[in-house]
Subunit: 331 residues, 2 copies
DNA sequence: TTGTATGCGTTATCAT
DNA sequence: ATGATAACGCATACAA
């Protein structure tokens, strides 16, 4: 690999002059510039970004950590984030933890070692102190650590409210919500709070069933769904992320439960998994594009030392009405 | 950020002694080691990988370039590749081109600048010379440049043969194959060759319709499918990647075409998009895990200077039989 | 066992 | 307009 000094030698100048041509950082005589550009071409020279990064204390890379790259929500989000980063002149390093705490911790350690400039955390199973001890710009998704670290999150409370209304309209009495872990800092759990608040006030039963996102095994979801529906015939409403929601629809069909007549299903996320389904699924849609845009906006501001925006960034969800829920109670 | 010299100062030793403790590269007195480890802890020291990489001429990062991170096939593959890389001690940098040639070229340039050690090319729209001029280990997916650059590819010819058999069994007479571009170096086109060879020998019409992978817009696929089915009522067989295949199934249902009675559909890839469908879709399955394993095996061998394996790595596809095709011609 | 000197490739500062 | 020098943080060869 040709270095800047090889180019300098070939063009009969000092290395720093080559550097000046490279960066346009100072005026160089036209004739000298030509010689240097010629030499760069002949040597097929490309600057070493490692050395550059070392000098500038900046790698030009942002890491994103997710539970699974395959997961449709995270792959859609990562796709958008990469696009945003590209526009801002950064590269993305996408890593996945498989929801394994040790791997998350290990990656966080790697990220501190100057290989990346900042991190988007799409997974967060460590203790708050560990995020607070991270000494670089960090943006958390769906997880509030404290008042300092920026967080980008969908308005899950509204998501829960919208879903609750659908269940009420459908006259449902026994709801199961397939969801993530319950912890005060896990903001997506707000959807469950809202659901429960509204529905139990109307005497509707709501039960949470916790699963891990990274157990991203559709057949497993399908078995779970079948088991739940068979063991609990009184269940008449399901809220779940796109993938488990689809699993319930498939399970319902297999055991002969009619949707939406005897079972209402609301999917949560709105990835292409709902689009590709033959049914038109009622869905709470997270604004993936806006999440990506806001996350990178906040992170790049931090990276480039611009004034900080508010730490809490909440974005609107929307309801897409399909026919896996009933619009009105038949009277 | 504490540097190795800060640690050295605190522990009253020279920097190289700290380095020795870090790497276990030479014996250090037990008491000295303790002092150093203590100092590292107190300073919350983490080695600077940029500096390390600069010295070692190695970044510990492998790039993967794909047309779209969202695409279920590529996100599944990227997920596996990341796992394989992690096991081998490398990080992955995942980038997408949106099938834009300029972006692919730009990324290739970035990848040469010592920021990554090698590249997995999941997209390849440049001229062969550009890949040949790349001076680092490269593994191409589905694309043969020459006899030197390693390529990992599914046995698409067999894929085409398996599909052709299904169409023959179903008595289909007019097939449409939704596929990528036709070029000698694009190996996935072999499936089309095989399909045509076998079917036209039996007097079955086969027509190729080219689409771009990155136009990853399900509604667009759906419109296309509806248009094709309505304008060509004689069509009785479809082969397409998972996503467009599902679009055809949805379109068929919308315009009242019966599957598999009057329309057979074979999906190609076998991502979870077919799993999540309510129908049981006949599918040619690419061995994603094996592709990832072989790709990284070959690449890491190159990176670590081990003897090169054969350049051509072809992996077996399999048929998963569903009920979007007929098993026997009703006589 | 430990320390000194040097280089990896780049760029900023200061000098000419 | 151009060059010499030093520094970024680390790891090696060599010396002590």
């Amino acid at each position: 690999m040709a270095s800047i000094r090889d180019v300098a030698k070939k063009a009969n100048v000092a290395a720093c002059t080559v550097s000046r041509v490279l960066n346009g950082s100072a005026s160089v005589a036209e004739e000298t510039r030509q010689r240097i550009e010629q030499a760069m071409k002949e040597l097929n020279y490309i600057p070493n970004e490692l050395a550059r990064g070392m000098f500038k204390q900046r790698a030009g890379i942002v890491a994103m950590l997710v539970p699974s790259i395959r997961h449709p929500f995270f792959s859609s989000l990562a796709d958008q984030i990469e696009k945003e980063l590209y526009q801002q002149g950064y590269k993305m390093m996408l890593c996945s933890t498989g929801d394994d705490i040790a791997r998350e911790r290990e990656y966080m350690k790697t990220f501190r070692s100057n290989i990346v400039d900042g991190v988007i955390m799409g997974v967060s199973n460590l203790k708050d102190e560990e995020y607070e001890a991270f000494q670089k710009p960090l943006v958390m998704l769906d997880h509030k650590v404290n008042e300092e670290i920026p967080v980008v999150v969908s308005d899950h409370r509204t998501g829960g409210i919208l879903a609750a209304q659908k269940f009420l309209e459908g006259g449902c009495r026994n709801i199961i919500h397939i969801c993530g872990l319950d912890a005060p800092e896990v903001l997506s759990f707000q959807s469950h709070r809202a659901l429960e608040e509204i529905l139990s006030a109307r005497g509707v039963q709501v039960k949470a069933v916790e699963i891990k996102w990274s157990n991203f095994d559709f057949d497993g979801y399908l078995e779970l769904a079948k088991m739940i529906l068979e063991k609990n015939p009184e269940i008449d409403g399901i809220m779940a992320a796109d993938l488990p929601a689809v699993a319930f629809l498939k399970a319902a069909r297999q055991i002969g439960r009619k949707v939406p007549e005897t079972l209402c299903v609301v999917a949560y996320d709105g990835t292409y998994v709902v689009d590709t389904n033959l049914l038109d699924i009622t869905t709470i849609v997270q604004p993936v594009k806006e999440i990506a845009n806001r996350s990178i906006g906040v992170l790049v501001d931090l990276l480039e030392g611009r004034p900080a925006k508010p730490a809490m960034n909440m974005l609107e969800v929307s309801l897409r009405e399909g026919n896996t829920t009933k619009s009105r109670i038949p009277s």
